[in-house]
């Protein structure tokens, strides 16, 4: 996870102490129902351009290990607070969803990309 943060030039907004986990898959979408319907392994991150609380709830339901907010869109305070409660690392990158997916794919991650 630490390598992913470096690769994306991402700011770590929460969960600094939990960045040593291995990540093998990324689910990228701005449609949460698409995330809910995607097959998700036990070492996935969620990538999204949305910023609201439901992103974190969705992450919790599908058991992703971290959330990366893209396009420099900072998550809302309540979303960061809930992620802290759930012990979910939160990253913020200025890259677009497509750019983030491309970089992570190049780095060897399996990518599930929903529309948008």
């Amino acid at each position: 996870m630490r390598d992913i943060a470096r690769l994306l030039g991402a700011e770590v907004l929460g969960g600094h102490l939990r960045l040593d986990m291995e990540i093998g898959q990324a689910l990228g979408s701005d449609i949460m129902s698409r995330v809910l319907s995607s097959p998700c392994g036990d070492n996935a991150v969620l990538l999204t351009g949305l910023t609201n609380l439901q992103v974190v709830r969705t992450a919790e339901i599908v058991d992703v290990k971290a959330i990366i907010f893209v396009k420099g869109r900072c998550p809302r305070k309540e979303a960061i607070r809930l992620a802290q409660e759930l012990d979910l690392p939160v990253l913020l990158t200025n890259l677009s969803l497509a750019e983030t997916c491309a970089l992570l794919r190049e780095a060897g991650l399996q990518i599930q990309e929903g529309s948008r």
């Binding site: 129902s33 969705t58 339901i61």
Partner: protein, 143 residues
């Protein structure tokens, strides 16, 4: 079906309350993990609960989500007082939604709620009356 459930959890759900939306599903998920349920099953029940809860928050005035575990079966019932569904067959089609743009901007209203519930369920029934409300009954078989 036995007359006595092994576990029952009931959650009142408030329409349009996006700050609380998902809390019932989250509590259900944690409870199932605590009783040692297999992770694939926890995931199916959690997704059904979350989509059903979001449906009430998005479309209804208020409602209730009830999880009941029976020997051999899990049942999730979502009832609401709300506008009802005019065409259930249409609502079951992926991509059809009556949700407003504000809800789409939150990542929902993509017309995938009911199809996602059906995908995770072994059995699903939708009873609805326009102008009164909707009741969704979902069953998952335990093997």
């Amino acid at each position: 079906m036995s007359s006595k459930p092994l576990l029952e959890m009931r959650f009142p759900i408030q329409g349009n309350d996006f700050m609380q939306a998902g809390e019932a599903a989250s509590k259900i998920k944690r409870a199932l993990q605590q009783i040692g349920m297999e992770s694939g099953l926890v995931r199916r029940v959690s997704i059904i609960s979350y989509e059903a809860e979001m449906n009430i928050v998005i479309h209804a005035y208020h409602g209730e989500l009830i999880l009941t575990i029976w020997p051999g079966k899990i049942q999730i019932v979502a009832t609401d007082v709300g506008p009802g569904i005019a065409d259930v067959d249409l609502a079951m089609q992926v991509g059809y939604s009556t949700a407003p743009e504000s809800v789409r901007q939150m990542g929902f209203g993509a017309g995938m709620g009911l199809p996602n519930i059906q995908k995770c369920a072994d059995e699903m029934q939708v009873e609805t009356k326009v102008g009164e409300g909707t009741r969704i009954l979902v069953k998952i078989n335990l093997r």
